[in-house]
Symmetry: C2
Subunit: 396 residues, 2 copies
């Protein structure tokens, strides 16, 4: 596959922050100032680059020329120096590509509480700028990784309103998706033509059932951020109405793919489970139930052990705060019914069949609460010994 | 220590439900119908015995003669049969001790989704009733255990209003306190004289900073329950005013001891950490922050690894939903300051010292958010590989 999107160039270089000489500084640059949207972490301890990027996008009314990203250091909880460093990083990035500091977003991922090595970033940015190429997203996608096993890139091509449109994105994960280095970063570019507002609405919508519906230890980290830039190189008029909805659907599909890639590469992850919840009063209630199940350590260890201990799933649903009537509740693991209208399966082989279903690397659990039209889906994964190993001694 | 409390007798027998022939059926009996209070799980999938005991206490206006408890099977998510079985268990228990069914509470702990073996319970109750002795709480405390390593009993003696009063209690834990068999049960008896309402108020108050402030995977299970019975054998008038407050303080102390014992015996637990949070707008906010920190898998794995990765603590506080100003936030691990008013510690040896502090089996973390008088404490523990092992293949 050739990953390219008209109007954008990518770069990734090694500055030596990562001990093994891996790539750790990346740039996405647009040819001009283009509509740019972003969704940032809700964490109150948001990192300096998150705060700065939020401010920049606000001041520019949703336009930017580039994103500069470093990995290995999150520039989070770094006090006043951290704020200065983030600004300096934007300034150096702008200088390297010939833009203004107010046109460059910054993002960081890695260890919390340690000052950035600004010398390395100052040295690295000009060489990164020199290697900016339209075919280089692979390098960029490598430069944003931390404990990930590999790059996560996704691309979609569709025709909307007679124009051929490309959406291209990449993401990084780590520690079971509440990344052990406390950062999920994602970057999307498209050549579609959209207003800044339409792009922001589209991104905000697409994030809900994708990046905001993967579990996780429930952590929204200090550095989480996803940005989308639209070059408009596909031409035509700005997308709106049905065309915009089609674009949003395609963006959602792209983000879903990236989110799944991120889950599969999570630390110690062997099973990715689609938790479907139905039959609640409304979608919000279904989402709350699905999220509680997906974050339950007891459910996650049962997933790890391929153990159809379904009482844990019911117990998690029961503590989610959502109304529940056990007598109306049904549960399937894979295609195996284990509970029907509050009565446990009477079939003698249910346990073996459910356990077999759980040995697959991806499978669904479907909880029907029988009380209304609400529905939601959440991606969950196992909690394994490897996860504990990796996160018990990441720093030391 | 001799564990006794005037007015109460205890028993524990083996009915064969537990594979290894361990005790699995227990009774606490009072000599007469006495004031009895209880706090039950808030879980919407509450087990049949929880629902029945709640109803019994309501109908009796807070009086009971006995509690009958079985372990090995939670009688949860067991459909209509489960409801009938819980009632039958209360009826059989009442018959065995010569009481009315409406005077006997029931509690169950163990596997979810499996029907009770009523034959064994019917056989076991009369022999349990025969062995009821005032000095037998040890047997009872054994009979309620599941994966616990040992019994957890605590006793306090105080003088209130010139009367010598005893408080005696026991509890069971398991799976890191969101028990893997989804049950925490606790039972307290006292010879103090109290009205049913005063006893309930006292118990409800004492539970908040003790059993409701231990972490946990955040799970309130389908079977959680704590009951308190007061025989009044100590004599005098019913406790009220300052005397009642003194009783409540002593009860809180007793429950704190039981809760700590439960934490120390949690599955795979090597470290019990007092999470102190200060400086929030109010106590409720502090509690929310402390709870979020205590339940964070990333914090818990850092505790397991004695890794002073304090960014994870800040990140958890930041996603708790409580207002935060990093520039006013300070954090100590043990007695080592790692963050002061938003600035990381500049001392070269902070990491070694903080790591040393974390090697202790019990130590505090103190987070000061610098914004108000709110404070709270939560007991947390590590998330270890043993926990994952135990919970990955408990059933299979």
């Amino acid at each position: 596959v050739s990953y390219r999107c008209r109007g954008f160039r990518f770069a990734g270089v090694a500055t030596g922050v990562k001990k093994d000489g891996a790539l750790d500084l990346g740039i996405i640059a647009s040819d001009s100032l283009v509509p740019t949207a972003a969704v940032f972490t809700q964490n109150k301890a948001a990192a300096a680059p998150v705060k700065l990027s939020r401010t920049i996008l606000k001041k520019s009314a949703g336009r930017a020329r580039a994103v500069v990203v470093n990995s290995g250091n999150a520039n989070a909880c770094t006090g006043k120096q951290g704020t200065l460093d983030a600004k300096q990083m934007a300034k150096l990035g702008a200088k390297a590509i010939g833009a203004e500091p107010g046109e460059v977003l910054v993002a960081s991922t890695g260890v919390i509480g340690l000052a950035l090595d600004m010398g390395r970033i100052e040295e690295g940015l000009p060489s990164a700028a020199e290697t900016l190429r339209s075919g280089n997203i692979d390098q960029f996608a490598k430069a944003i990784l931390t404990t990930d096993k590999g790059v996560k890139i996704s691309q979609r091509r569709i025709a909307i309103g007679g124009k051929r449109i490309t959406l291209l994105g990449c993401t990084k994960g780590a520690g079971m998706i509440a990344p052990n280095m406390a950062t999920t970063l994602s970057f999307v570019v498209t050549d579609a033509k959209l207003s800044p507002k339409a792009l922001q609405d589209s991104l905000s919508t697409a994030v809900v059932p994708t990046f905001n519906a993967i579990s996780v230890d429930g952590d929204s980290s200090t550095n989480d951020m996803i940005s989308a830039m639209a070059s408009g190189a596909a031409g035509g008029t700005s997308l709106r109405g049905a065309d915009l909805r089609e674009f949003t659907a395609c963006l959602t599909d792209l983000l879903d793919d990236l989110a799944r890639k991120l889950m599969r590469d999570g630390e110690g992850v062997h099973h990715v489970v689609d938790i479907f919840v139905r039959g609640t009063r409304n979608d919000q209630a279904a989402r709350r139930v699905a999220q509680t199940i997906a974050n339950s350590p007891l459910v996650k260890t049962a997933i790890a052990g391929c153990d159809p201990n379904w009482g844990r799933i019911l117990a998690a649903a029961g503590r989610s705060g959502v109304s529940m009537n056990l007598a109306k509740t049904s549960l399937r693991i894979g295609s195996v019914p284990v509970l029907r209208d509050g009565e446990p399966s009477g079939k003698p082989d249910w346990e073996q069949r459910a356990s077999d279903a759980m040995r697959k690397s991806e499978y669904p659990m479907v909880l029907d609460m029988g009380m209304g039209p609400g529905r939601a889906r959440y991606l969950a994964c196992d909690l394994s010994k490897e996860y504990v190993s990796i996160n018990s001694d990441y720093r030391s």
